[in-house]
Every structure is written in structure tokens, then in C-alpha cells.
């Protein structure tokens, strides 16, 4: 242990002398560590997040970098592929902290991996911005270094249930089919709560296993239960299959909600006409209209820039990838320093106007400051139906 301390001491002295020696240290890029699932089960999402990160990085660097006090410093993102394996994500977070010595970190994909990797960020006191962690279980560990730009799961279920209650008074019976996995299951349970709260009867609630290849039995039971509103949660492949098999079994309902796949263009492509009138909720959509003080200027400009770079409209996963970048940038600029403690303080204060929405975090680091839009697929396009200020259409009933 002594040897190690001596080595560290020497290193610290060397670094200090380098800082004193002049501006050379200030011109070093700000390093951000980003463990991503670029291969394996979560790779579609991993790639989307990376696109979001890259767009932000390129935009900032094209503008000369992040203004730290009076100097501008470029951004460098260190990517590692954690192969969709959570333990590997934890291992890489530690590598980024100790080996690559990054200044800040972006979280891995999803609630489970974010929860696991945030332990490392906390140990090394590195602020970690989680782009895709929505389940409250991620945050209730009371960590000081975790900040997430997704609002809690119930902010998706509550507005949806409100709209159904208001626009479809005949809906009485609800069926819920949830994937047995951290986020989809937690979301299913939120929908159950939101439904019951409004006096709706939950006539069916079942979980299905990860890697299920057939939903016919569950859907046959759902059909027999005659629900007016069907809610399914899961990842995109699950929901494509469930939607297809609903049609196979001739299931009709006044409303069908699937979360979050319909917000992706792939869902519409893969289900074709079956996507019609399916509703979903998501944290961001190209139709939102936020004016922002970040490097993009507004949601509209963000969409334009994304389209120019990737030749497609951004979806919420792309956008949240960029959102963690802009929040970090604004926090560094306000702090006037890359000192982790100072940046953490400004993050805690919140009040960031971004293209993703106004961002302020609660006591445990989860965003609480914006209303996620509710959308519906109408005519093969996603249309925002809530909140009122940005809506492009009204809820249409009837899914066949």
C-alpha cells in the first residue's frame, strides 16, 4: 500500500507542476466516459444513444468546445462496448474511472445497468448523467453523483390514464401484459395503479418471460376478458410480436397502449397498418417545442441538425443521449470549472433550459421538471396528443 501512495503522490506532484507550468493543461479535451451496449441484446438502443452523444459532441466541438471560465475546451468521449452485459458495464465504469481517468461519465443503457454502474460513479465521486433510467428504484439508493434526464415511470402512465378517462368514458376494463424485466414491469405496475386510481377495473395483469416467442395464450385470455383498454410493455421486438398476434387473434379494443416501442420508426415499419391508433408515451418527441439556451437552440433546430447528420428524425433515445451532453455542458459552463464538486453543485441546483425540456433534478437526482408527451400513431405517423400546447391531434379511439 505504501508503494502505491508514493506513486500517487509523485503523480499528483507532477500534475500540479504541469498545471502551474502553463495553459497546456487547459487545452486538453474534457474526457467523458460512455459505456454503451453496442453489441448484444440492447445494441439497437446503444447505437441510438451513441448517435445522440456524437451529435452533441460534434456540435460543441464545431463551436470551439465547452467554455470553462475563459478558455474553451474540446470534448472527447471514451466509448466502450459492454456487450449488453450489466457486470461488464460496471467493470468498464471502473476502467473509465481509474484507467482512462475521465472527468465525467454518461450512464449505460436502461434502469438496471444504470443502477449497477452508479455504484462505481459514487465510489469514485464522478458525476454520472444517466440518459435512460426512469425507474425510481435506480435513484432511491441516495447517491450524490447520479443525475437522470428521464422523469419517473408514473409520469408516463398518469397523463395517459387522464386522457383515456377524459376522451373515452366508455373504457371500463383494462388488461395489462408486462415483460418481466426491471423497467417494463415497473411501468406495467404504474399503469395498474393509474388505472385503479381512476376507478377502472384491471381485468388482466400478467407478466411474460424475456425471450418469449409466442404470446397467443396470454392474448387469448385477454380477448376472453373483453378489455376496453389493452396495455403492453416491453422492448421493441416483444411489442411488434404482441401487436401482430393481437391481430392474429382478432382482438379489438377502444385503446391500445404500448410502451415505448411505437415511438420508434422501426415499430411502424415492422407492424405496418397494425400500428394505426396505437398510443404510447415517451419523454421526448420531434414535435415538442422547447426553446433552449443550449448549443442547439431549440427542439426544432435539434431535429433539423439530427436529420442533417443521420438522415432520419431523432427519437427519444437519440434525444436523451444528446440531453445528458447539453446538461453537462451547461453545468460546466455555469460552474466555470471542470472540478467535479463544483459541477455537481450546479447540477443539483438545476434550472437548465434544454431542447429536451427544462431540466431540474429532485433530491435523489431524477428529472422532475417537464411533462413527457403522449403520442399516437395516426396515418402511419406519430402525432402528439398531449400536452395541449404542442399537440398535433386528438386521441382517436378504436384499434383493430
Amino acid at each position: 500500500m505504501n508503494l502505491g501512495n508514493v506513486r500517487r503522490g509523485v503523480l499528483a506532484a507532477l500534475m500540479a507542476s504541469a498545471v502551474v507550468a502553463g495553459a497546456s493543461a487547459a487545452e486538453l479535451p474534457i474526457r467523458i466516459g460512455a459505456p454503451l451496449p453496442l453489441t448484444g441484446a440492447l445494441s439497437p438502443e446503444g447505437v441510438k444513444l451513441q448517435q445522440g452523444y456524437e451529435l452533441w459532441k460534434d456540435t460543441v466541438n464545431a463551436a470551439g468546445g465547452i467554455a470553462v471560465g475563459s478558455v474553451k475546451r474540446l470534448v472527447e468521449i471514451v466509448y466502450y462496448d459492454y456487450q449488453s452485459m450489466t457486470p461488464k458495464a460496471v467493470q468498464l465504469a471502473e476502467k473509465l474511472a481509474t484507467d482512462d481517468k475521465v472527468d465525467f461519465m454518461f450512464g449505460p443503457f436502461g434502469s438496471g445497468a444504470s443502477k449497477a454502474a452508479s455504484t462505481v460513479a459514487e465510489r469514485y465521486a464522478i458525476p454520472m448523467l444517466a440518459p435512460t433510467a426512469s425507474s425510481v428504484e435506480v435513484y432511491d439508493q441516495g447517491y450524490k453523483n447520479l443525475f437522470g434526464t428521464f422523469t419517473a415511470n408514473d409520469t408516463l402512465s398518469e397523463p395517459m390514464a387522464d386522457i383515456i378517462k377524459a376522451k373515452a368514458p366508455n373504457v371500463k376494463r383494462v388488461a395489462i401484459l408486462a415483460r418481466n424485466d426491471l423497467y417494463p414491469l415497473a411501468l406495467g405496475q404504474e399503469f395498474e395503479k393509474s388505472s385503479k386510481k381512476r376507478g377502472l377495473e384491471v381485468v388482466y395483469f400478467e407478466k411474460y418471460a424475456i425471450n418469449t416467442l409466442d404470446h397467443a395464450s396470454a392474448l387469448t385470455e385477454i380477448k376472453a376478458a373483453k378489455p376496453d383498454w389493452i396495455i403492453a410493455t416491453g422492448y421493441i421486438n416483444d411489442l411488434i410480436l404482441i401487436r401482430k398476434q393481437m391481430a392474429d387473434l382478432g382482438i379489438k379494443a377502444q385503446a391500445v397502449t404500448m410502451i415505448n416501442a411505437p415511438a420508434y420508426q422501426e415499430f411502424i415499419d415492422a407492424t405496418g397498418t397494425l400500428a394505426e391508433n396505437v398510443t404510447t408515451a415517451t419523454w421526448w418527441h420531434p414535435a415538442v417545442r422547447y426553446e433552449s439556451k443550449d448549443v442547439f437552440g431549440s427542439s426544432v433546430k435539434y431535429s433539423e441538425m439530427f436529420q442533417k447528420k443521420f438522415n432520419a428524425l431523432p427519437d427519444f433515445t437519440n434525444a436523451t443521449g444528446s440531453s445528458v451532453g447539453v446538461v453537462l455542458q451547461m453545468a460546466i459552463e455555469r460552474a466555470g470549472s471542470v472540478d467535479r464538486d463544483k459541477v455537481r453543485e450546479t447540477l443539483v441546483k438545476g434550472g437548465f433550459d434544454t431542447f429536451f425540456g427544462p431540466l431540474t433534478f429532485n433530491g435523489v437526482g431524477q428529472a422532475i421538471s417537464y411533462v413527457p408527451p403522449v403520442i399516437q400513431i395516426q396515418g402511419g405517423k406519430t402525432v402528439v396528443i398531449y400536452p395541449e400546447v404542442i399537440k398535433g391531434g386528438d386521441l382517436q379511439l378504436g384499434v383493430r
Binding site: 387469448t220 376472453a224 422501426e266
Partner: protein, 294 residues
Amino acid sequence: MLYVQILINGILLGGLYACIAVGFSLVWGVLNVINILHGSFIVLGAYLAFFAYTGLGIHPYLFAPFAALVLFMLGYAVQLTVINRVIEAPVLVTLTTTFGLALLLDNLMLVVFAANFRKVSLKPPLGVIDLSDTFPSIDLIVPVDRLASMLFALVFVALLYWLLRHTVVGRAIVAVRMDRYAATLMGVDTTKVFAVTFALGAALAGAAGALLSPIFPISPLAGTTYLGKAFVICVLGGLGSVSGALVGGLVLGVLESFGALFFGPEHSLTLSFTVLILLLIFRPNGIMGKRGFV
């Protein structure tokens, strides 16, 4: 009525399962190779069908023979260049070799096709046969695309059966299946038979992929799920027999459907794997209890 509908679902699913497993069973039975690549071959077939449909407008059912042909050639090449070199090695070596090949193929598909989930969405959709339209008291429904995929799969299985029974190559394969060494003594060129058998297994996977493309989402990662099913079905039906794969598939489909109904959908996989272990222990030759050769 609920039970009848579940039974129909199960039989349709079982037909698709049989189609997934036949090629796997053939290779296992004849070559004594557990081909981990099989699931990835199915996915490749599905991708080919997807691009044929979206790019050239060729219907997946029409494309299935072409998918089979492409995969036949790929399978032949893989067998000649790699598998043949380890064919005499213990099961561990052959299995791990195909595992390595599956890692490679899956990663290649991930890079080339990207990880996005796709599905062939037929225009117009084939729709459903709703019995309650004609008989209001009978509330049963049959999806046409599943039925059609199952029937076409049966055609391929029948073709294989005919091939094994009535052609020289087929007879040679059956001979090797029964007794590899005796067949060699009889003048059968086993290297060639192995290559043809492996290629046939791959061809059946390719056809299965095309037939499944309108039904299941396609992704480079779907291979392991198909493979898991193929394992269970082979053990259920008995190794290396065409009719065994058919029976195994149907039994598994019906079993899973009722399992999901009685125990809840989250337990249907557990159920099928448990059945597999029990069968291995108590009836290692499959539920039909005999070693089928065709």
C-alpha cells in the same frame, strides 16, 4: 371454446416449431454434431427474405426455395472448410466450434444489417379466418399467415422425407445415420455425405427463416431463441428423425400454449426446459421411444 382456441394456437405454433427444428435434428442425427449455428442460419434466411420482399417485392413464401438454396451453398462451404476437420473429435469440440462460428455469423449480421428489429409486413396482410363470421356460436379464429407458413414448412419437410427415402444421396445419408463405419465399408463417401447433410440442414434453416419472416421480428440476436426451441423439440421427438421433429414441434407448441394458460406466461419457458430434462433422463430416445431414421 377458450381451450379449443388455445389448442389451435398451440398446433399452429407447433408447426412453426417443427419447421425450426427439422434441419437441426437432421444434422445432429447424421453428423453427430450439435449445430449451434442453426439459429443463426434461420435468422440469415429471414434477412434474405426481408430484403427480397422490401427490395424486389418477392413474396417470402415464393422466396423460401431461394433462401434454402443460398443457405445450402453456405452450409456446404462451412462443412467442407471447418466442420469436416473436427468431425471425428468429441462432441465438446464440434459443439464449441459451431458456437464460435455462431458468434462470428451473429456479429457479422449485426454489423451488416444493424441491430434494428425488422419484420416482413405483408401488403395486403393475409388476415384471419374468423369462424364466428359464418357460425356465430363458434368463436374461433385462425391467422392465415401462420397457417400458410406451417403448410409450406410441411411441404419442405415432406420434400426432405422424399429425398431421404427415394434418392441415392438420401439413401446414403440414411445409411450413414444408421452406421457410419458400415456405410464407409459399403463405399459411401462419408465426407461428401456429411457436407450434403450439413448443407441440407442449413437449407431447411434458410427456408424456415423465410417462412417465419412475416411472423416473428427479425434481428441478429433472434438465433439463440430459435436454437433453444430446436434443442427441446429434438429431445422431445427423438434425434435425427424427420417425423420426430414434427411430433416434437407439435407437442412443444401445444404444451407451451397450455402451460402459459395454466401457469402464467412467465413460466412457459421454464416448463418446456423442465420437460426437456425429464425426458432426457427418462426417455432419451424421445416420446415416441424409438430411434427413428427418417
